[in-house]
């Protein structure tokens, strides 16, 4: 099989587009179609989904015939840490307030970059948490929970 594929990266991209298109058709299967004169909610998405499937299919076919780029290596570590830090931020924000959320986010995301000392991480976290307080709480007066309940403001 491997010999068949000339552009693995494009093959995967094409397959992704086809899958999204098919999923759209399946999820939107009961959206009313309507007519050209008076279109229902399902008309336009269906046209677009079919277009996406067609384009995806062409990309898949081309990847079997035309030499192209290999798959790129994913940097899973940084990805998980960066996205994870935002999830942590979101989870903490309405439970423990902005300060805790920002500090935790900075610490988690800091580990995405290798070779950083713990001292530096803490310094950056403190500095950015202070900055966030200055800009968003003091400066813009954002209506947001700042400290954990029962502590400070």
């Amino acid at each position: 099989m491997a010999g068949l594929v000339r552009a693995p990266r494009d093959l995967l991209a094409g397959m992704f587009f086809v899958v999204v298109g098919v999923a759209t058709l399946v999820i939107g299967a009961d959206y009313r179609l309507g007519s050209l004169l008076s279109m229902g909610p399902g008309y336009f998405p269906r046209i677009i989904a079919i277009l996406l499937i067609a384009l995806g299919a062409v990309i898949v076919l081309a990847s079997l015939r035309i030499q192209g780029a290999p798959l790129e290596r994913w940097r899973l570590g940084p990805m998980v840490l960066v996205l994870g830090s935002i999830v942590v931020f979101g989870w903490l924000l309405e439970r423990f307030g902005l300060m805790a959320a920002v500090a935790a986010m900075v610490v988690v995301s800091a580990y995405a970059e290798k070779g950083r000392s713990h001292v530096e991480t803490i310094l950056v976290a403190v500095a950015l948490t202070a900055l966030a307080w200055l800009i968003f709480v003091k400066g813009l007066g954002m209506p947001i929970m700042v400290w954990p309940e029962g502590m400070g403001g």
């Binding site: 007519s35 960066v82 935002i86 924000l93 309405e94 813009l140």
Partner: protein, 499 residues
């Protein structure tokens, strides 16, 4: 005469203390992110967008516009001194700018880039002021079919600009349109693809997607390319080029301004295309093309004038037709909508102070940029030594708080994380996110006009072809598509992107 009184009104607005400050803030921030590689105007503007809600609309737009054209000035600084394009539109400036710097003429390169940019900025402001009223007039004649066809043309043009595979760029556009259908169907009120989430019934937030795909995904992707920054140790030298160099560069500045202004107005245009086109043109026109790449001053003057001109004239379709031609303009539309302003030709008549104030502010901003960039260039260079490892947590912070503050919704923060993942995956698959973003904004307008045109024509799909203006626009789109698919043009395009 009208032009003068309009501009006078504009300057009255732009020269108030508040607006001067916001303009200054915008261009300083623009220069900053222009100098720094790894963060561009799209990410910055989407980061700030939620906070502009608290500003008066005119000040908000003046500041956001300043970020965009300010980035064009800043981008040349890192291109010339460090051989790193701070912005995509400064890629070609690296070629001759860095060569000049190695030659000990860094100051001259910086000087001519600023002079060219300023000249281009002045001309582009005038073009914008002169072209906007007639275009807005024309826009009132546009029916649904024309709008639909114009958007199709714009989206096709955006494909031409995307780097890499055309097919994948087309698919990204279609995917963007599809994402635009999420939410309540405006005509029938039905919920589509919301999965029962109330947060989605107003549609996918543009800022949420932009932040995920440009902010978060961009940061992750930056870890793939190791940081390499060798700030040039040689002295910058005199900033004012000699008479001979100015004479050499003046033609390039004029041509760059022309081609940049023209390509900026066109759908799909913006700063980047102009700079590439100008570089190719200068190389072709030169008596001795072999000088290029070895420190030809025209190779700096032309593209730097062109990208600034293009950045400014790309406001023309946004302000007059309410149609964004590139992701930055899509964000400007977003900024207007947040402020409750319906973008379109009526902005000029209903909010003349906003319209002309913004145009006048561009000239003011350009003046500030020259004053900021030339004497303070040393300061900007020092900024380059700020490590990305310090910078990215700060970017994350602004993104995260920005997404949340939009609707005080944690769900939208998690959605942005999802788009961060999607964006990174797509980057890894060689699919550029910019066309998707543009299509996401245009998608709902596209659908709306599509449906309206067909209702008006009693369901006759030929309406898009039989209405002359609409037919011509679609024909243009088809021709454009055929041209870029043609093998030899493709090769030239790939070459241009590689240079």
């Amino acid at each position: 005469m009208d032009l003068l009184s309009n501009l006078a009104l504009g300057f009255q607005v732009a020269l108030t203390l508040d607006n001067l400050l916001y303009c200054f803030g915008g261009v300083v921030l623009g220069t900053l992110i222009g100098v720094l590689p790894g963060i561009g105007p799209v990410a910055t503007i989407s980061m700030l967008l939620p906070f502009t809600f608290h500003l008066p609309p005119t000040s908000a737009l003046i500041m956001l516009a300043g970020i965009y054209y300010g980035a064009q000035y800043g981008g040349s600084t890192s291109a010339i001194l460090v051989n790193l394009p701070g912005e995509a539109s400064s890629v070609v400036t690296c070629l001759d700018g860095y060569a000049m710097a190695r030659d000990g003429r860094a100051g001259h390169a910086l000087g001519i880039a600023a002079i060219g940019s300023f000249f281009a900025g002045c001309v582009a402001t005038l073009i914008l002021a002169a072209l906007a009223p007639p275009l807005a007039e024309l826009a009132f004649q546009f029916g649904a079919a024309e709008y639909f066809s114009l958007m199709v043309l714009g989206l096709v043009a955006a494909v031409v600009l995307a780097q890499g595979s055309l097919l994948k760029a087309l698919a990204m556009i279609v995917l963007g349109i599809l994402l635009g259908t999420v939410g309540m169907d405006t005509t029938t009120g039905d919920q589509r693809f919301t999965f029962g989430m109330p947060e989605l019934s107003d549609g996918l937030g543009f800022v949420v997607v932009a932040m995920g795909m440009f902010g978060f995904a961009g940061i992750i992707a930056n870890f793939d390319t190791p940081e390499a920054r060798d700030v040039l140790r040689t002295k910058i030298g005199s900033l004012l080029p000699g008479m001979k160099e100015i004479r050499q560069a003046s033609g390039a500045i004029l041509r760059g301004t022309g081609i940049g202004s023209l390509l900026g107005v066109l759908p799909g245009g913006g700063a980047m295309l102009g700079s590439f086109a100008s570089y190719m043109m200068e190389k072709r026109l030169a008596k001795d093309p072999s000088r290029f790449g070895k420190g030809a001053i025209e190779g700096v003057a032309g593209p730097e004038s062109a990208n600034n001109a293009g950045a400014q004239t790309s406001f023309v379709p946004m302000l007059t037709l309410g149609l964004p031609t590139n992701p930055v303009m899509a964000l400007m539309i977003g900024a207007m909508t947040i402020q409750g302003i319906q973008p379109g030709p009526q902005v000029m008549t209903r909010q003349p102070d906003l319209f002309w104030g913004m145009i006048a502010s561009m000239w003011v901003g350009n003046l500030m940029l020259v004053l900021l960039n030339l004497p303070l260039v040393g300061l900007w260079v020092r900024l380059l030594s700020v490590r990305y490892r310090i910078l990215y947590p700060a970017i994350l912070l602004f993104c995260a708080i920005g997404v949340y503050s939009l609707n005080s919704s944690v769900v939208e923060v998690f959605l942005a994380v999802g788009f961060g993942f999607l964006g990174y995956a797509l980057i890894k698959l060689g699919c550029e996110p910019a066309p998707l973003l543009l299509a996401l904004v245009l998608g709902p307008m596209l659908e709306d006009n599509f449906r309206r045109a067909l209702t008006i024509s009693r369901g006759d799909p030929m309406v898009f072809i039989t209405r002359p203006l609409s037919g011509v626009l679609l024909l243009l789109a088809a021709v454009l598509l055929l041209i870029v698919i043609a093998p030899n043009v493709r090769k030239a395009r790939d070459q241009a992107f590689q240079e």
